[in-house]
């Protein structure tokens, strides 16, 4: 018995005894799939909201702190009595 014949025999064996599909399968799958979709949508919205909040917070902080301005030098002594 060569490889092809053996595989054909196993294939025939595997094809036997097909069980009927339970009728509630489609409904269950749709219900679960809808729940998955809703969860993913919720997660995406929350992540977007967090990203937007982070952008706004950074903008407010930057407008207040001006991180791009060089801080005044603190090594030069103040000029007094000049």
């Amino acid at each position: 018995m060569n490889r092809g014949e053996r595989e054909a025999a196993v294939r025939r064996l595997l094809e036997q005894g097909v069980a009927p599909v339970p009728p509630e399968l489609h409904g269950d799958a749709v219900r679960r799939g809808d729940r998955l979709l809703r969860q993913r949508r919720l997660v995406r919205r929350v992540l977007w909201l967090l990203a937007c909040a982070a952008v706004v917070a950074f903008a407010v902080w930057a407008a207040d702190a001006h991180p791009w301005v060089e801080p005044p030098s603190q090594t030069t002594p103040p000029l007094t009595g000049w």
Binding site: E7, L13, L14, V30, L36
Partner: protein, 167 residues
């Protein structure tokens, strides 16, 4: 915007129903072979298939020309591989039913045999899906074929087999 969403939902529901009507029988049989349960009652196979179909349903709008059957089969296979790994040696692991044709095989042998011979997936694709080298898939498939065809022969060519501890 809302109209378009509703139309898309309706189309997805219609297409998915047609897909399930056409593919559920074959996928359910594949799942039953994987779990090796009794032909008349297969709670694990049914659960596995429901999860795979739900995953396909959730991905339906983003399939972009990909075959939904492929998607469901892939999810079925990877999910089965993962759950058997988690249940390895644990309580509550279902024992194979002797009426199933693949009851004598280890879960991984069943997985390879079903993918290769029942579903006709190419060796390289099976290997990529399971994360194994192609030669290993070839070996497992040969060994599983021999075990299925000659179950009474002593298991001489199976020196190191996780299945003996598993089944």
């Amino acid at each position: 915007m809302r109209d378009r969403q509703a139309a898309r939902d309706a189309r997805r529901a219609r297409e998915f129903e047609a897909f399930v009507a056409g593919a559920a029988g074959r996928l359910l049989h594949a799942a039953m072979l994987l779990t090796a349960e009794a032909p008349d009652a297969g709670p694990r196979a049914r659960r596995l298939l429901t999860l795979a179909l739900a995953h396909t349903y959730a991905r339906w709008d983003r399939l972009r020309g990909e075959d939904p059957y492929d998607c469901a089969r892939q999810y079925l296979a990877t999910r089965f591989a993962r759950t058997t790994w988690h249940r390895y040696g644990a309580f509550g692991r279902a024992r194979p039913d002797p009426r199933s044709p693949l009851a004598a095989l280890a879960p991984r042998e069943r997985l390879v045999l079903v993918l290769r011979l029942y579903e006709g997936v190419a060796e390289e694709q099976t290997a990529a899906l399971l994360g194994l080298p192609a030669e290993r898939v070839h070996t497992i498939c040969d060994r599983a074929t021999a075990t299925v065809l000659h179950p009474d022969r002593p298991a001489a060519p199976r020196p190191v087999n996780p299945g003996t501890a598993l089944s």
